[in-house]
Amino acid sequence: MKLIAEKRETRSRLFRFGAPLVSVLAALFVAGFLLLAAGVSPAQAYLEIVREALGSGYGLSETLVKATPLIFAGLGVSLAFRMQIWNIGAEGQIYMGAMGASWVALFSGIESHGLMLAGMFCAAFACGGLWAGVAGLLRARWRVNEVIVTLLMNYIAILWVDYLIFGPWKDPKGFNFPLTAQFSEAARFSEYFDTRLHSGFFLALCCALLIYLFMERTIWGYQIKVIGSNPQAARYAGMKTGLAIFLVLFLSGAVAGIAGFSEVAGLQHRLQHGISPGYGYTAIIIAWLAKRSALGVVVVSLLMGVLLVGGDSLQISWQLPIAFVSAFQGLILFFLLAADFFVQYRLRLDRETDHA
């Protein structure tokens, strides 16, 4: 007897949309054992997560705040994934975006609120885009694997920002802390309902809508889909695949860069160490869970926001390490990849029968 994997002829809708749900449930189940090992009741912990993140106005606003950078980064990553270009460098692009925005905020001296934010937006867009564009150029010109390039450039970006805040950009009045000076009022997003919820969240929603329209309705989105599905056919239909690779990676990095802008303008009001605790990596999971759809990214990012806020409270009430949230995210991705296999293949037992 042998176990044989067969390609499925058709995939049911139920399967395609059920798979992510089942993966999350399976991840919850396995993470339950981790919680048990740490001496915490899983049921209580999960209840606590939901209550903390959604149970109060404050929790809800924190969830949206956490979801904001995830939406930007997830949108950027999923844009590239649509073309089968694997941008693993959203983390670095967030840092570069934050750097660009901070540069305008600290040194441009613009006083008008609108003009300042527009300038910061453009700088973040350009810096994130160019950072990813390097990988795009290398990939389009010399077929250098973009996974390696984008991944390694993360470290460069993070260390570069560290250099700036420990060195030339350090606030002279900051008691030698590795921080830049506080941004002026003009360079800060408005905040709402007396919480930390800032305009960045609404910008993220607009961005998601724009990217949805871009991918599903425009002739450029169409070309990205054709190239992603079969680059040879695209070339044969006369599409310029090299240029498309560069532009899509640029755009992907630019959108991730806006996450950096939104973080410094909305939350930190300065550039400092650790502005992104791995949002760029979480974005990969989000893009995958959302099946690379722009609107899906919003939904999944909100769920991840719940997890992050809830995870924070687990730290406080049970002294669980933040690594638990990362482990949980890893489990989700793990089960998701496995589920993808079962969506595409069916397993069958082959009894050694003779077909004669």
Partner: protein
């Protein structure tokens, strides 16, 4: 050595092997000859244990055998050199050979093993350095590695699947010298080819396959090129088709002295010249790999010519990209429909506009006009009788015939002046193939000229107005399908020039 009796193998809807019988003696080079689709590859896959036959039996040295997997047949001493080599490009020659060997102890003497490999290399006078990485070697040398792998495993029966398809004539000659030596050692060789010259040069016996049946086995001396060509192509009556001639005087395409070099620097197309008239269906006959693909690629802008000129309706389109060629009105049905004809994950609607998505009718400014795209798809699906399944499902779930219809519908929707079709009916069922023929004939009625590249002589004789025969990138000659025989074309396909 090996005895094959009444082997039958079917796939859903196709009888690949109907009834095949032949024997292979020790120390013999036995050639299997047949057109594409005659069942050669299926037969080899049965011999190497990839497929299990439904009927019939195989005897190896008098003992009935059944293979569950290629491993079983290899254990019995049957080895195969595939058309596509199974080598790790970054590894050295020795490492590649090592990979193929079973039963190497965990601690082994590299030196002793190398000595064994060297002995084989010297025995056959091969010029091969064990430490060179495989990617640095010529195709011919890579093939030797495959052979050495089998010899190290003591294979008694070697199967070579069109080994010369990728070789230069000089490399082929060296290969034949090696095969002769192997024969002298008492090894049996099954040689698969459809190049007549080589078959004549090295075979001891030839078995002709046609439509899944073994027609006959001829001993050396009992066959010559003419007889083999006649057997292979068959003496069936040429089906006549009430065809109206639409050939006009006007020249739509004029190819003169066109040469195309391939990646290895050899000429795929060598001083090729031909003229295509308005409304003409020009068949291009030839054994695959004699430059037809290069001709199609250069016409559709996927490759550039190294010499010569292409004039379309008087305009020089020799140097232009796929898009500008398309604007010049050349449509293309590619050879490998799944790999370059469609975007498999996109819907039928989206695939149908792959070349025309930029047209004003399919967009408002930068936005796609979904209604127009849907309407276009509905029109095409009805017109070409495409069984498209529910709307929104990816095109890859369609059958081969329907995928081909999608491609044809897309290519013909622009009212092209020239259609370049490569093997457009390969792998299609009779109904779909008939449909494709009708589309081309109808197109001719509207003044479209077709360049039909095919290996199927039935098809060419049925719908072409003129048949040009290619051999090694050159034009051998043109014949009128009304006054020719399959034998004459078959001979020209093997390179013999006939008036």
């Amino acid at each position: 050595m090996l005895q094959i009796e009444n082997i039958r193998k079917t796939f859903p809807g196709v009888v690949a092997l109907d009834s095949v019988s032949f024997t292979v003696a020790p120390g013999e080079i036995h050639t299997l000859l047949g057109e594409n689709g005659a069942g050669k590859s299926t037969l080899m896959n049965v011999l190497t244990g990839l497929y299990r036959p439904e009927r019939g039996r195989m005897l190896l040295r008098g003992q009935p055998v059944q293979f569950g997997s290629p491993r079983d047949s290899l254990a019995q001493g049957i080895g195969m050199v595939h058309q596509h080599f199974m080598l790790v490009a970054g590894h050295s020659v020795f490492e590649n050979i090592l990979l193929a060997l079973d039963g190497i102890p965990n601690l082994f003497s590299r030196r002793r093993l190398k000595a064994r490999v060297r002995a084989v290399i010297e025995e056959f006078d091969l010029d091969l350095d064990l430490e060179t990485p495989v990617w640095k070697l010529s195709i011919g040398a890579q093939q030797w590695i495959e052979l050495i792998k089998l010899l190290m495993r003591d294979c008694r029966l070697l199967i070579l699947d069109e080994p010369t398809a990728v070789l230069t004539p000089q490399e082929s000659d060296r290969l034949f010298a090696v095969l002769d030596k192997l024969k002298a050692q008492g090894k049996s060789i099954i040689f698969i080819s459809h190049k007549m010259r080589e078959v004549m040069a090295i075979s001891d016996r030839v078995t002709v396959l046609k439509k899944g049946r073994s027609l006959t086995t001829l001993v050396r001396g009992a066959f010559d090129e003419k007889r083999l060509a006649a057997l292979m192509i068959g003496a069936d009556r040429i089906p006549r088709w009430e065809k109206r001639m639409h050939v006009g005087k006007e020249l739509v395409l004029e190819i003169s002295d066109l040469s195309v070099r391939n990646d290895r620097g050899l000429s795929d197309l060598d001083s090729f010249s031909i003229k295509l008239h308005r409304g003409e269906i020009l068949g291009i006959a030839g054994v695959a790999g004699n430059g037809q693909k290069a001709l199609a690629e250069v016409l559709t802008g996927l490759k550039t010519a190294s010499r010569g000129r292409i004039l379309a309706a008087g305009y020089d389109i020799t140097r232009s990209t796929a898009r500008s060629s398309y604007i010049a009105g050349i449509a293309h049905i590619p050879e490998d429909r799944k790999s370059i004809g469609i975007a498999p994950d996109l819907t039928v609607d989206e695939n149908l506009i792959m070349k025309s998505f930029k047209q004003r009718s399919f967009r408002h400014w930068i936005f796609q006009n979904k209604q127009a795209i849907r309407r276009n798809a509905e029109e095409k699906i009805a017109q070409f009788a495409i069984k498209a399944g529910p709307g929104g499902s990816p095109v890859r779930y369609l059958s081969g015939g329907n995928i081909q219809k999608v491609i044809i519908a897309r290519e013909l929707s622009e009212q092209p002046t020239v259609l370049v079709a490569l093997y457009p009916t390969r792998g299609l069922d009779i109904g779909s193939a008939e449909y494709v023929h009708k589309v081309m004939a109808d197109g001719a009625g509207r003044g479209m000229s077709t360049l039909l590249i095919s290996e199927d002589l039935d098809e060419l004789l049925k719908i072409s107005d003129r048949i040009a025969v290619m051999f090694r990138g050159r034009l051998v000659g043109c014949v009128d399908p009304q006054n020719t025989t399959r034998e004459a074309i078959g001979l020209m396909m093997s390179g013999e020039v006939r008036p």
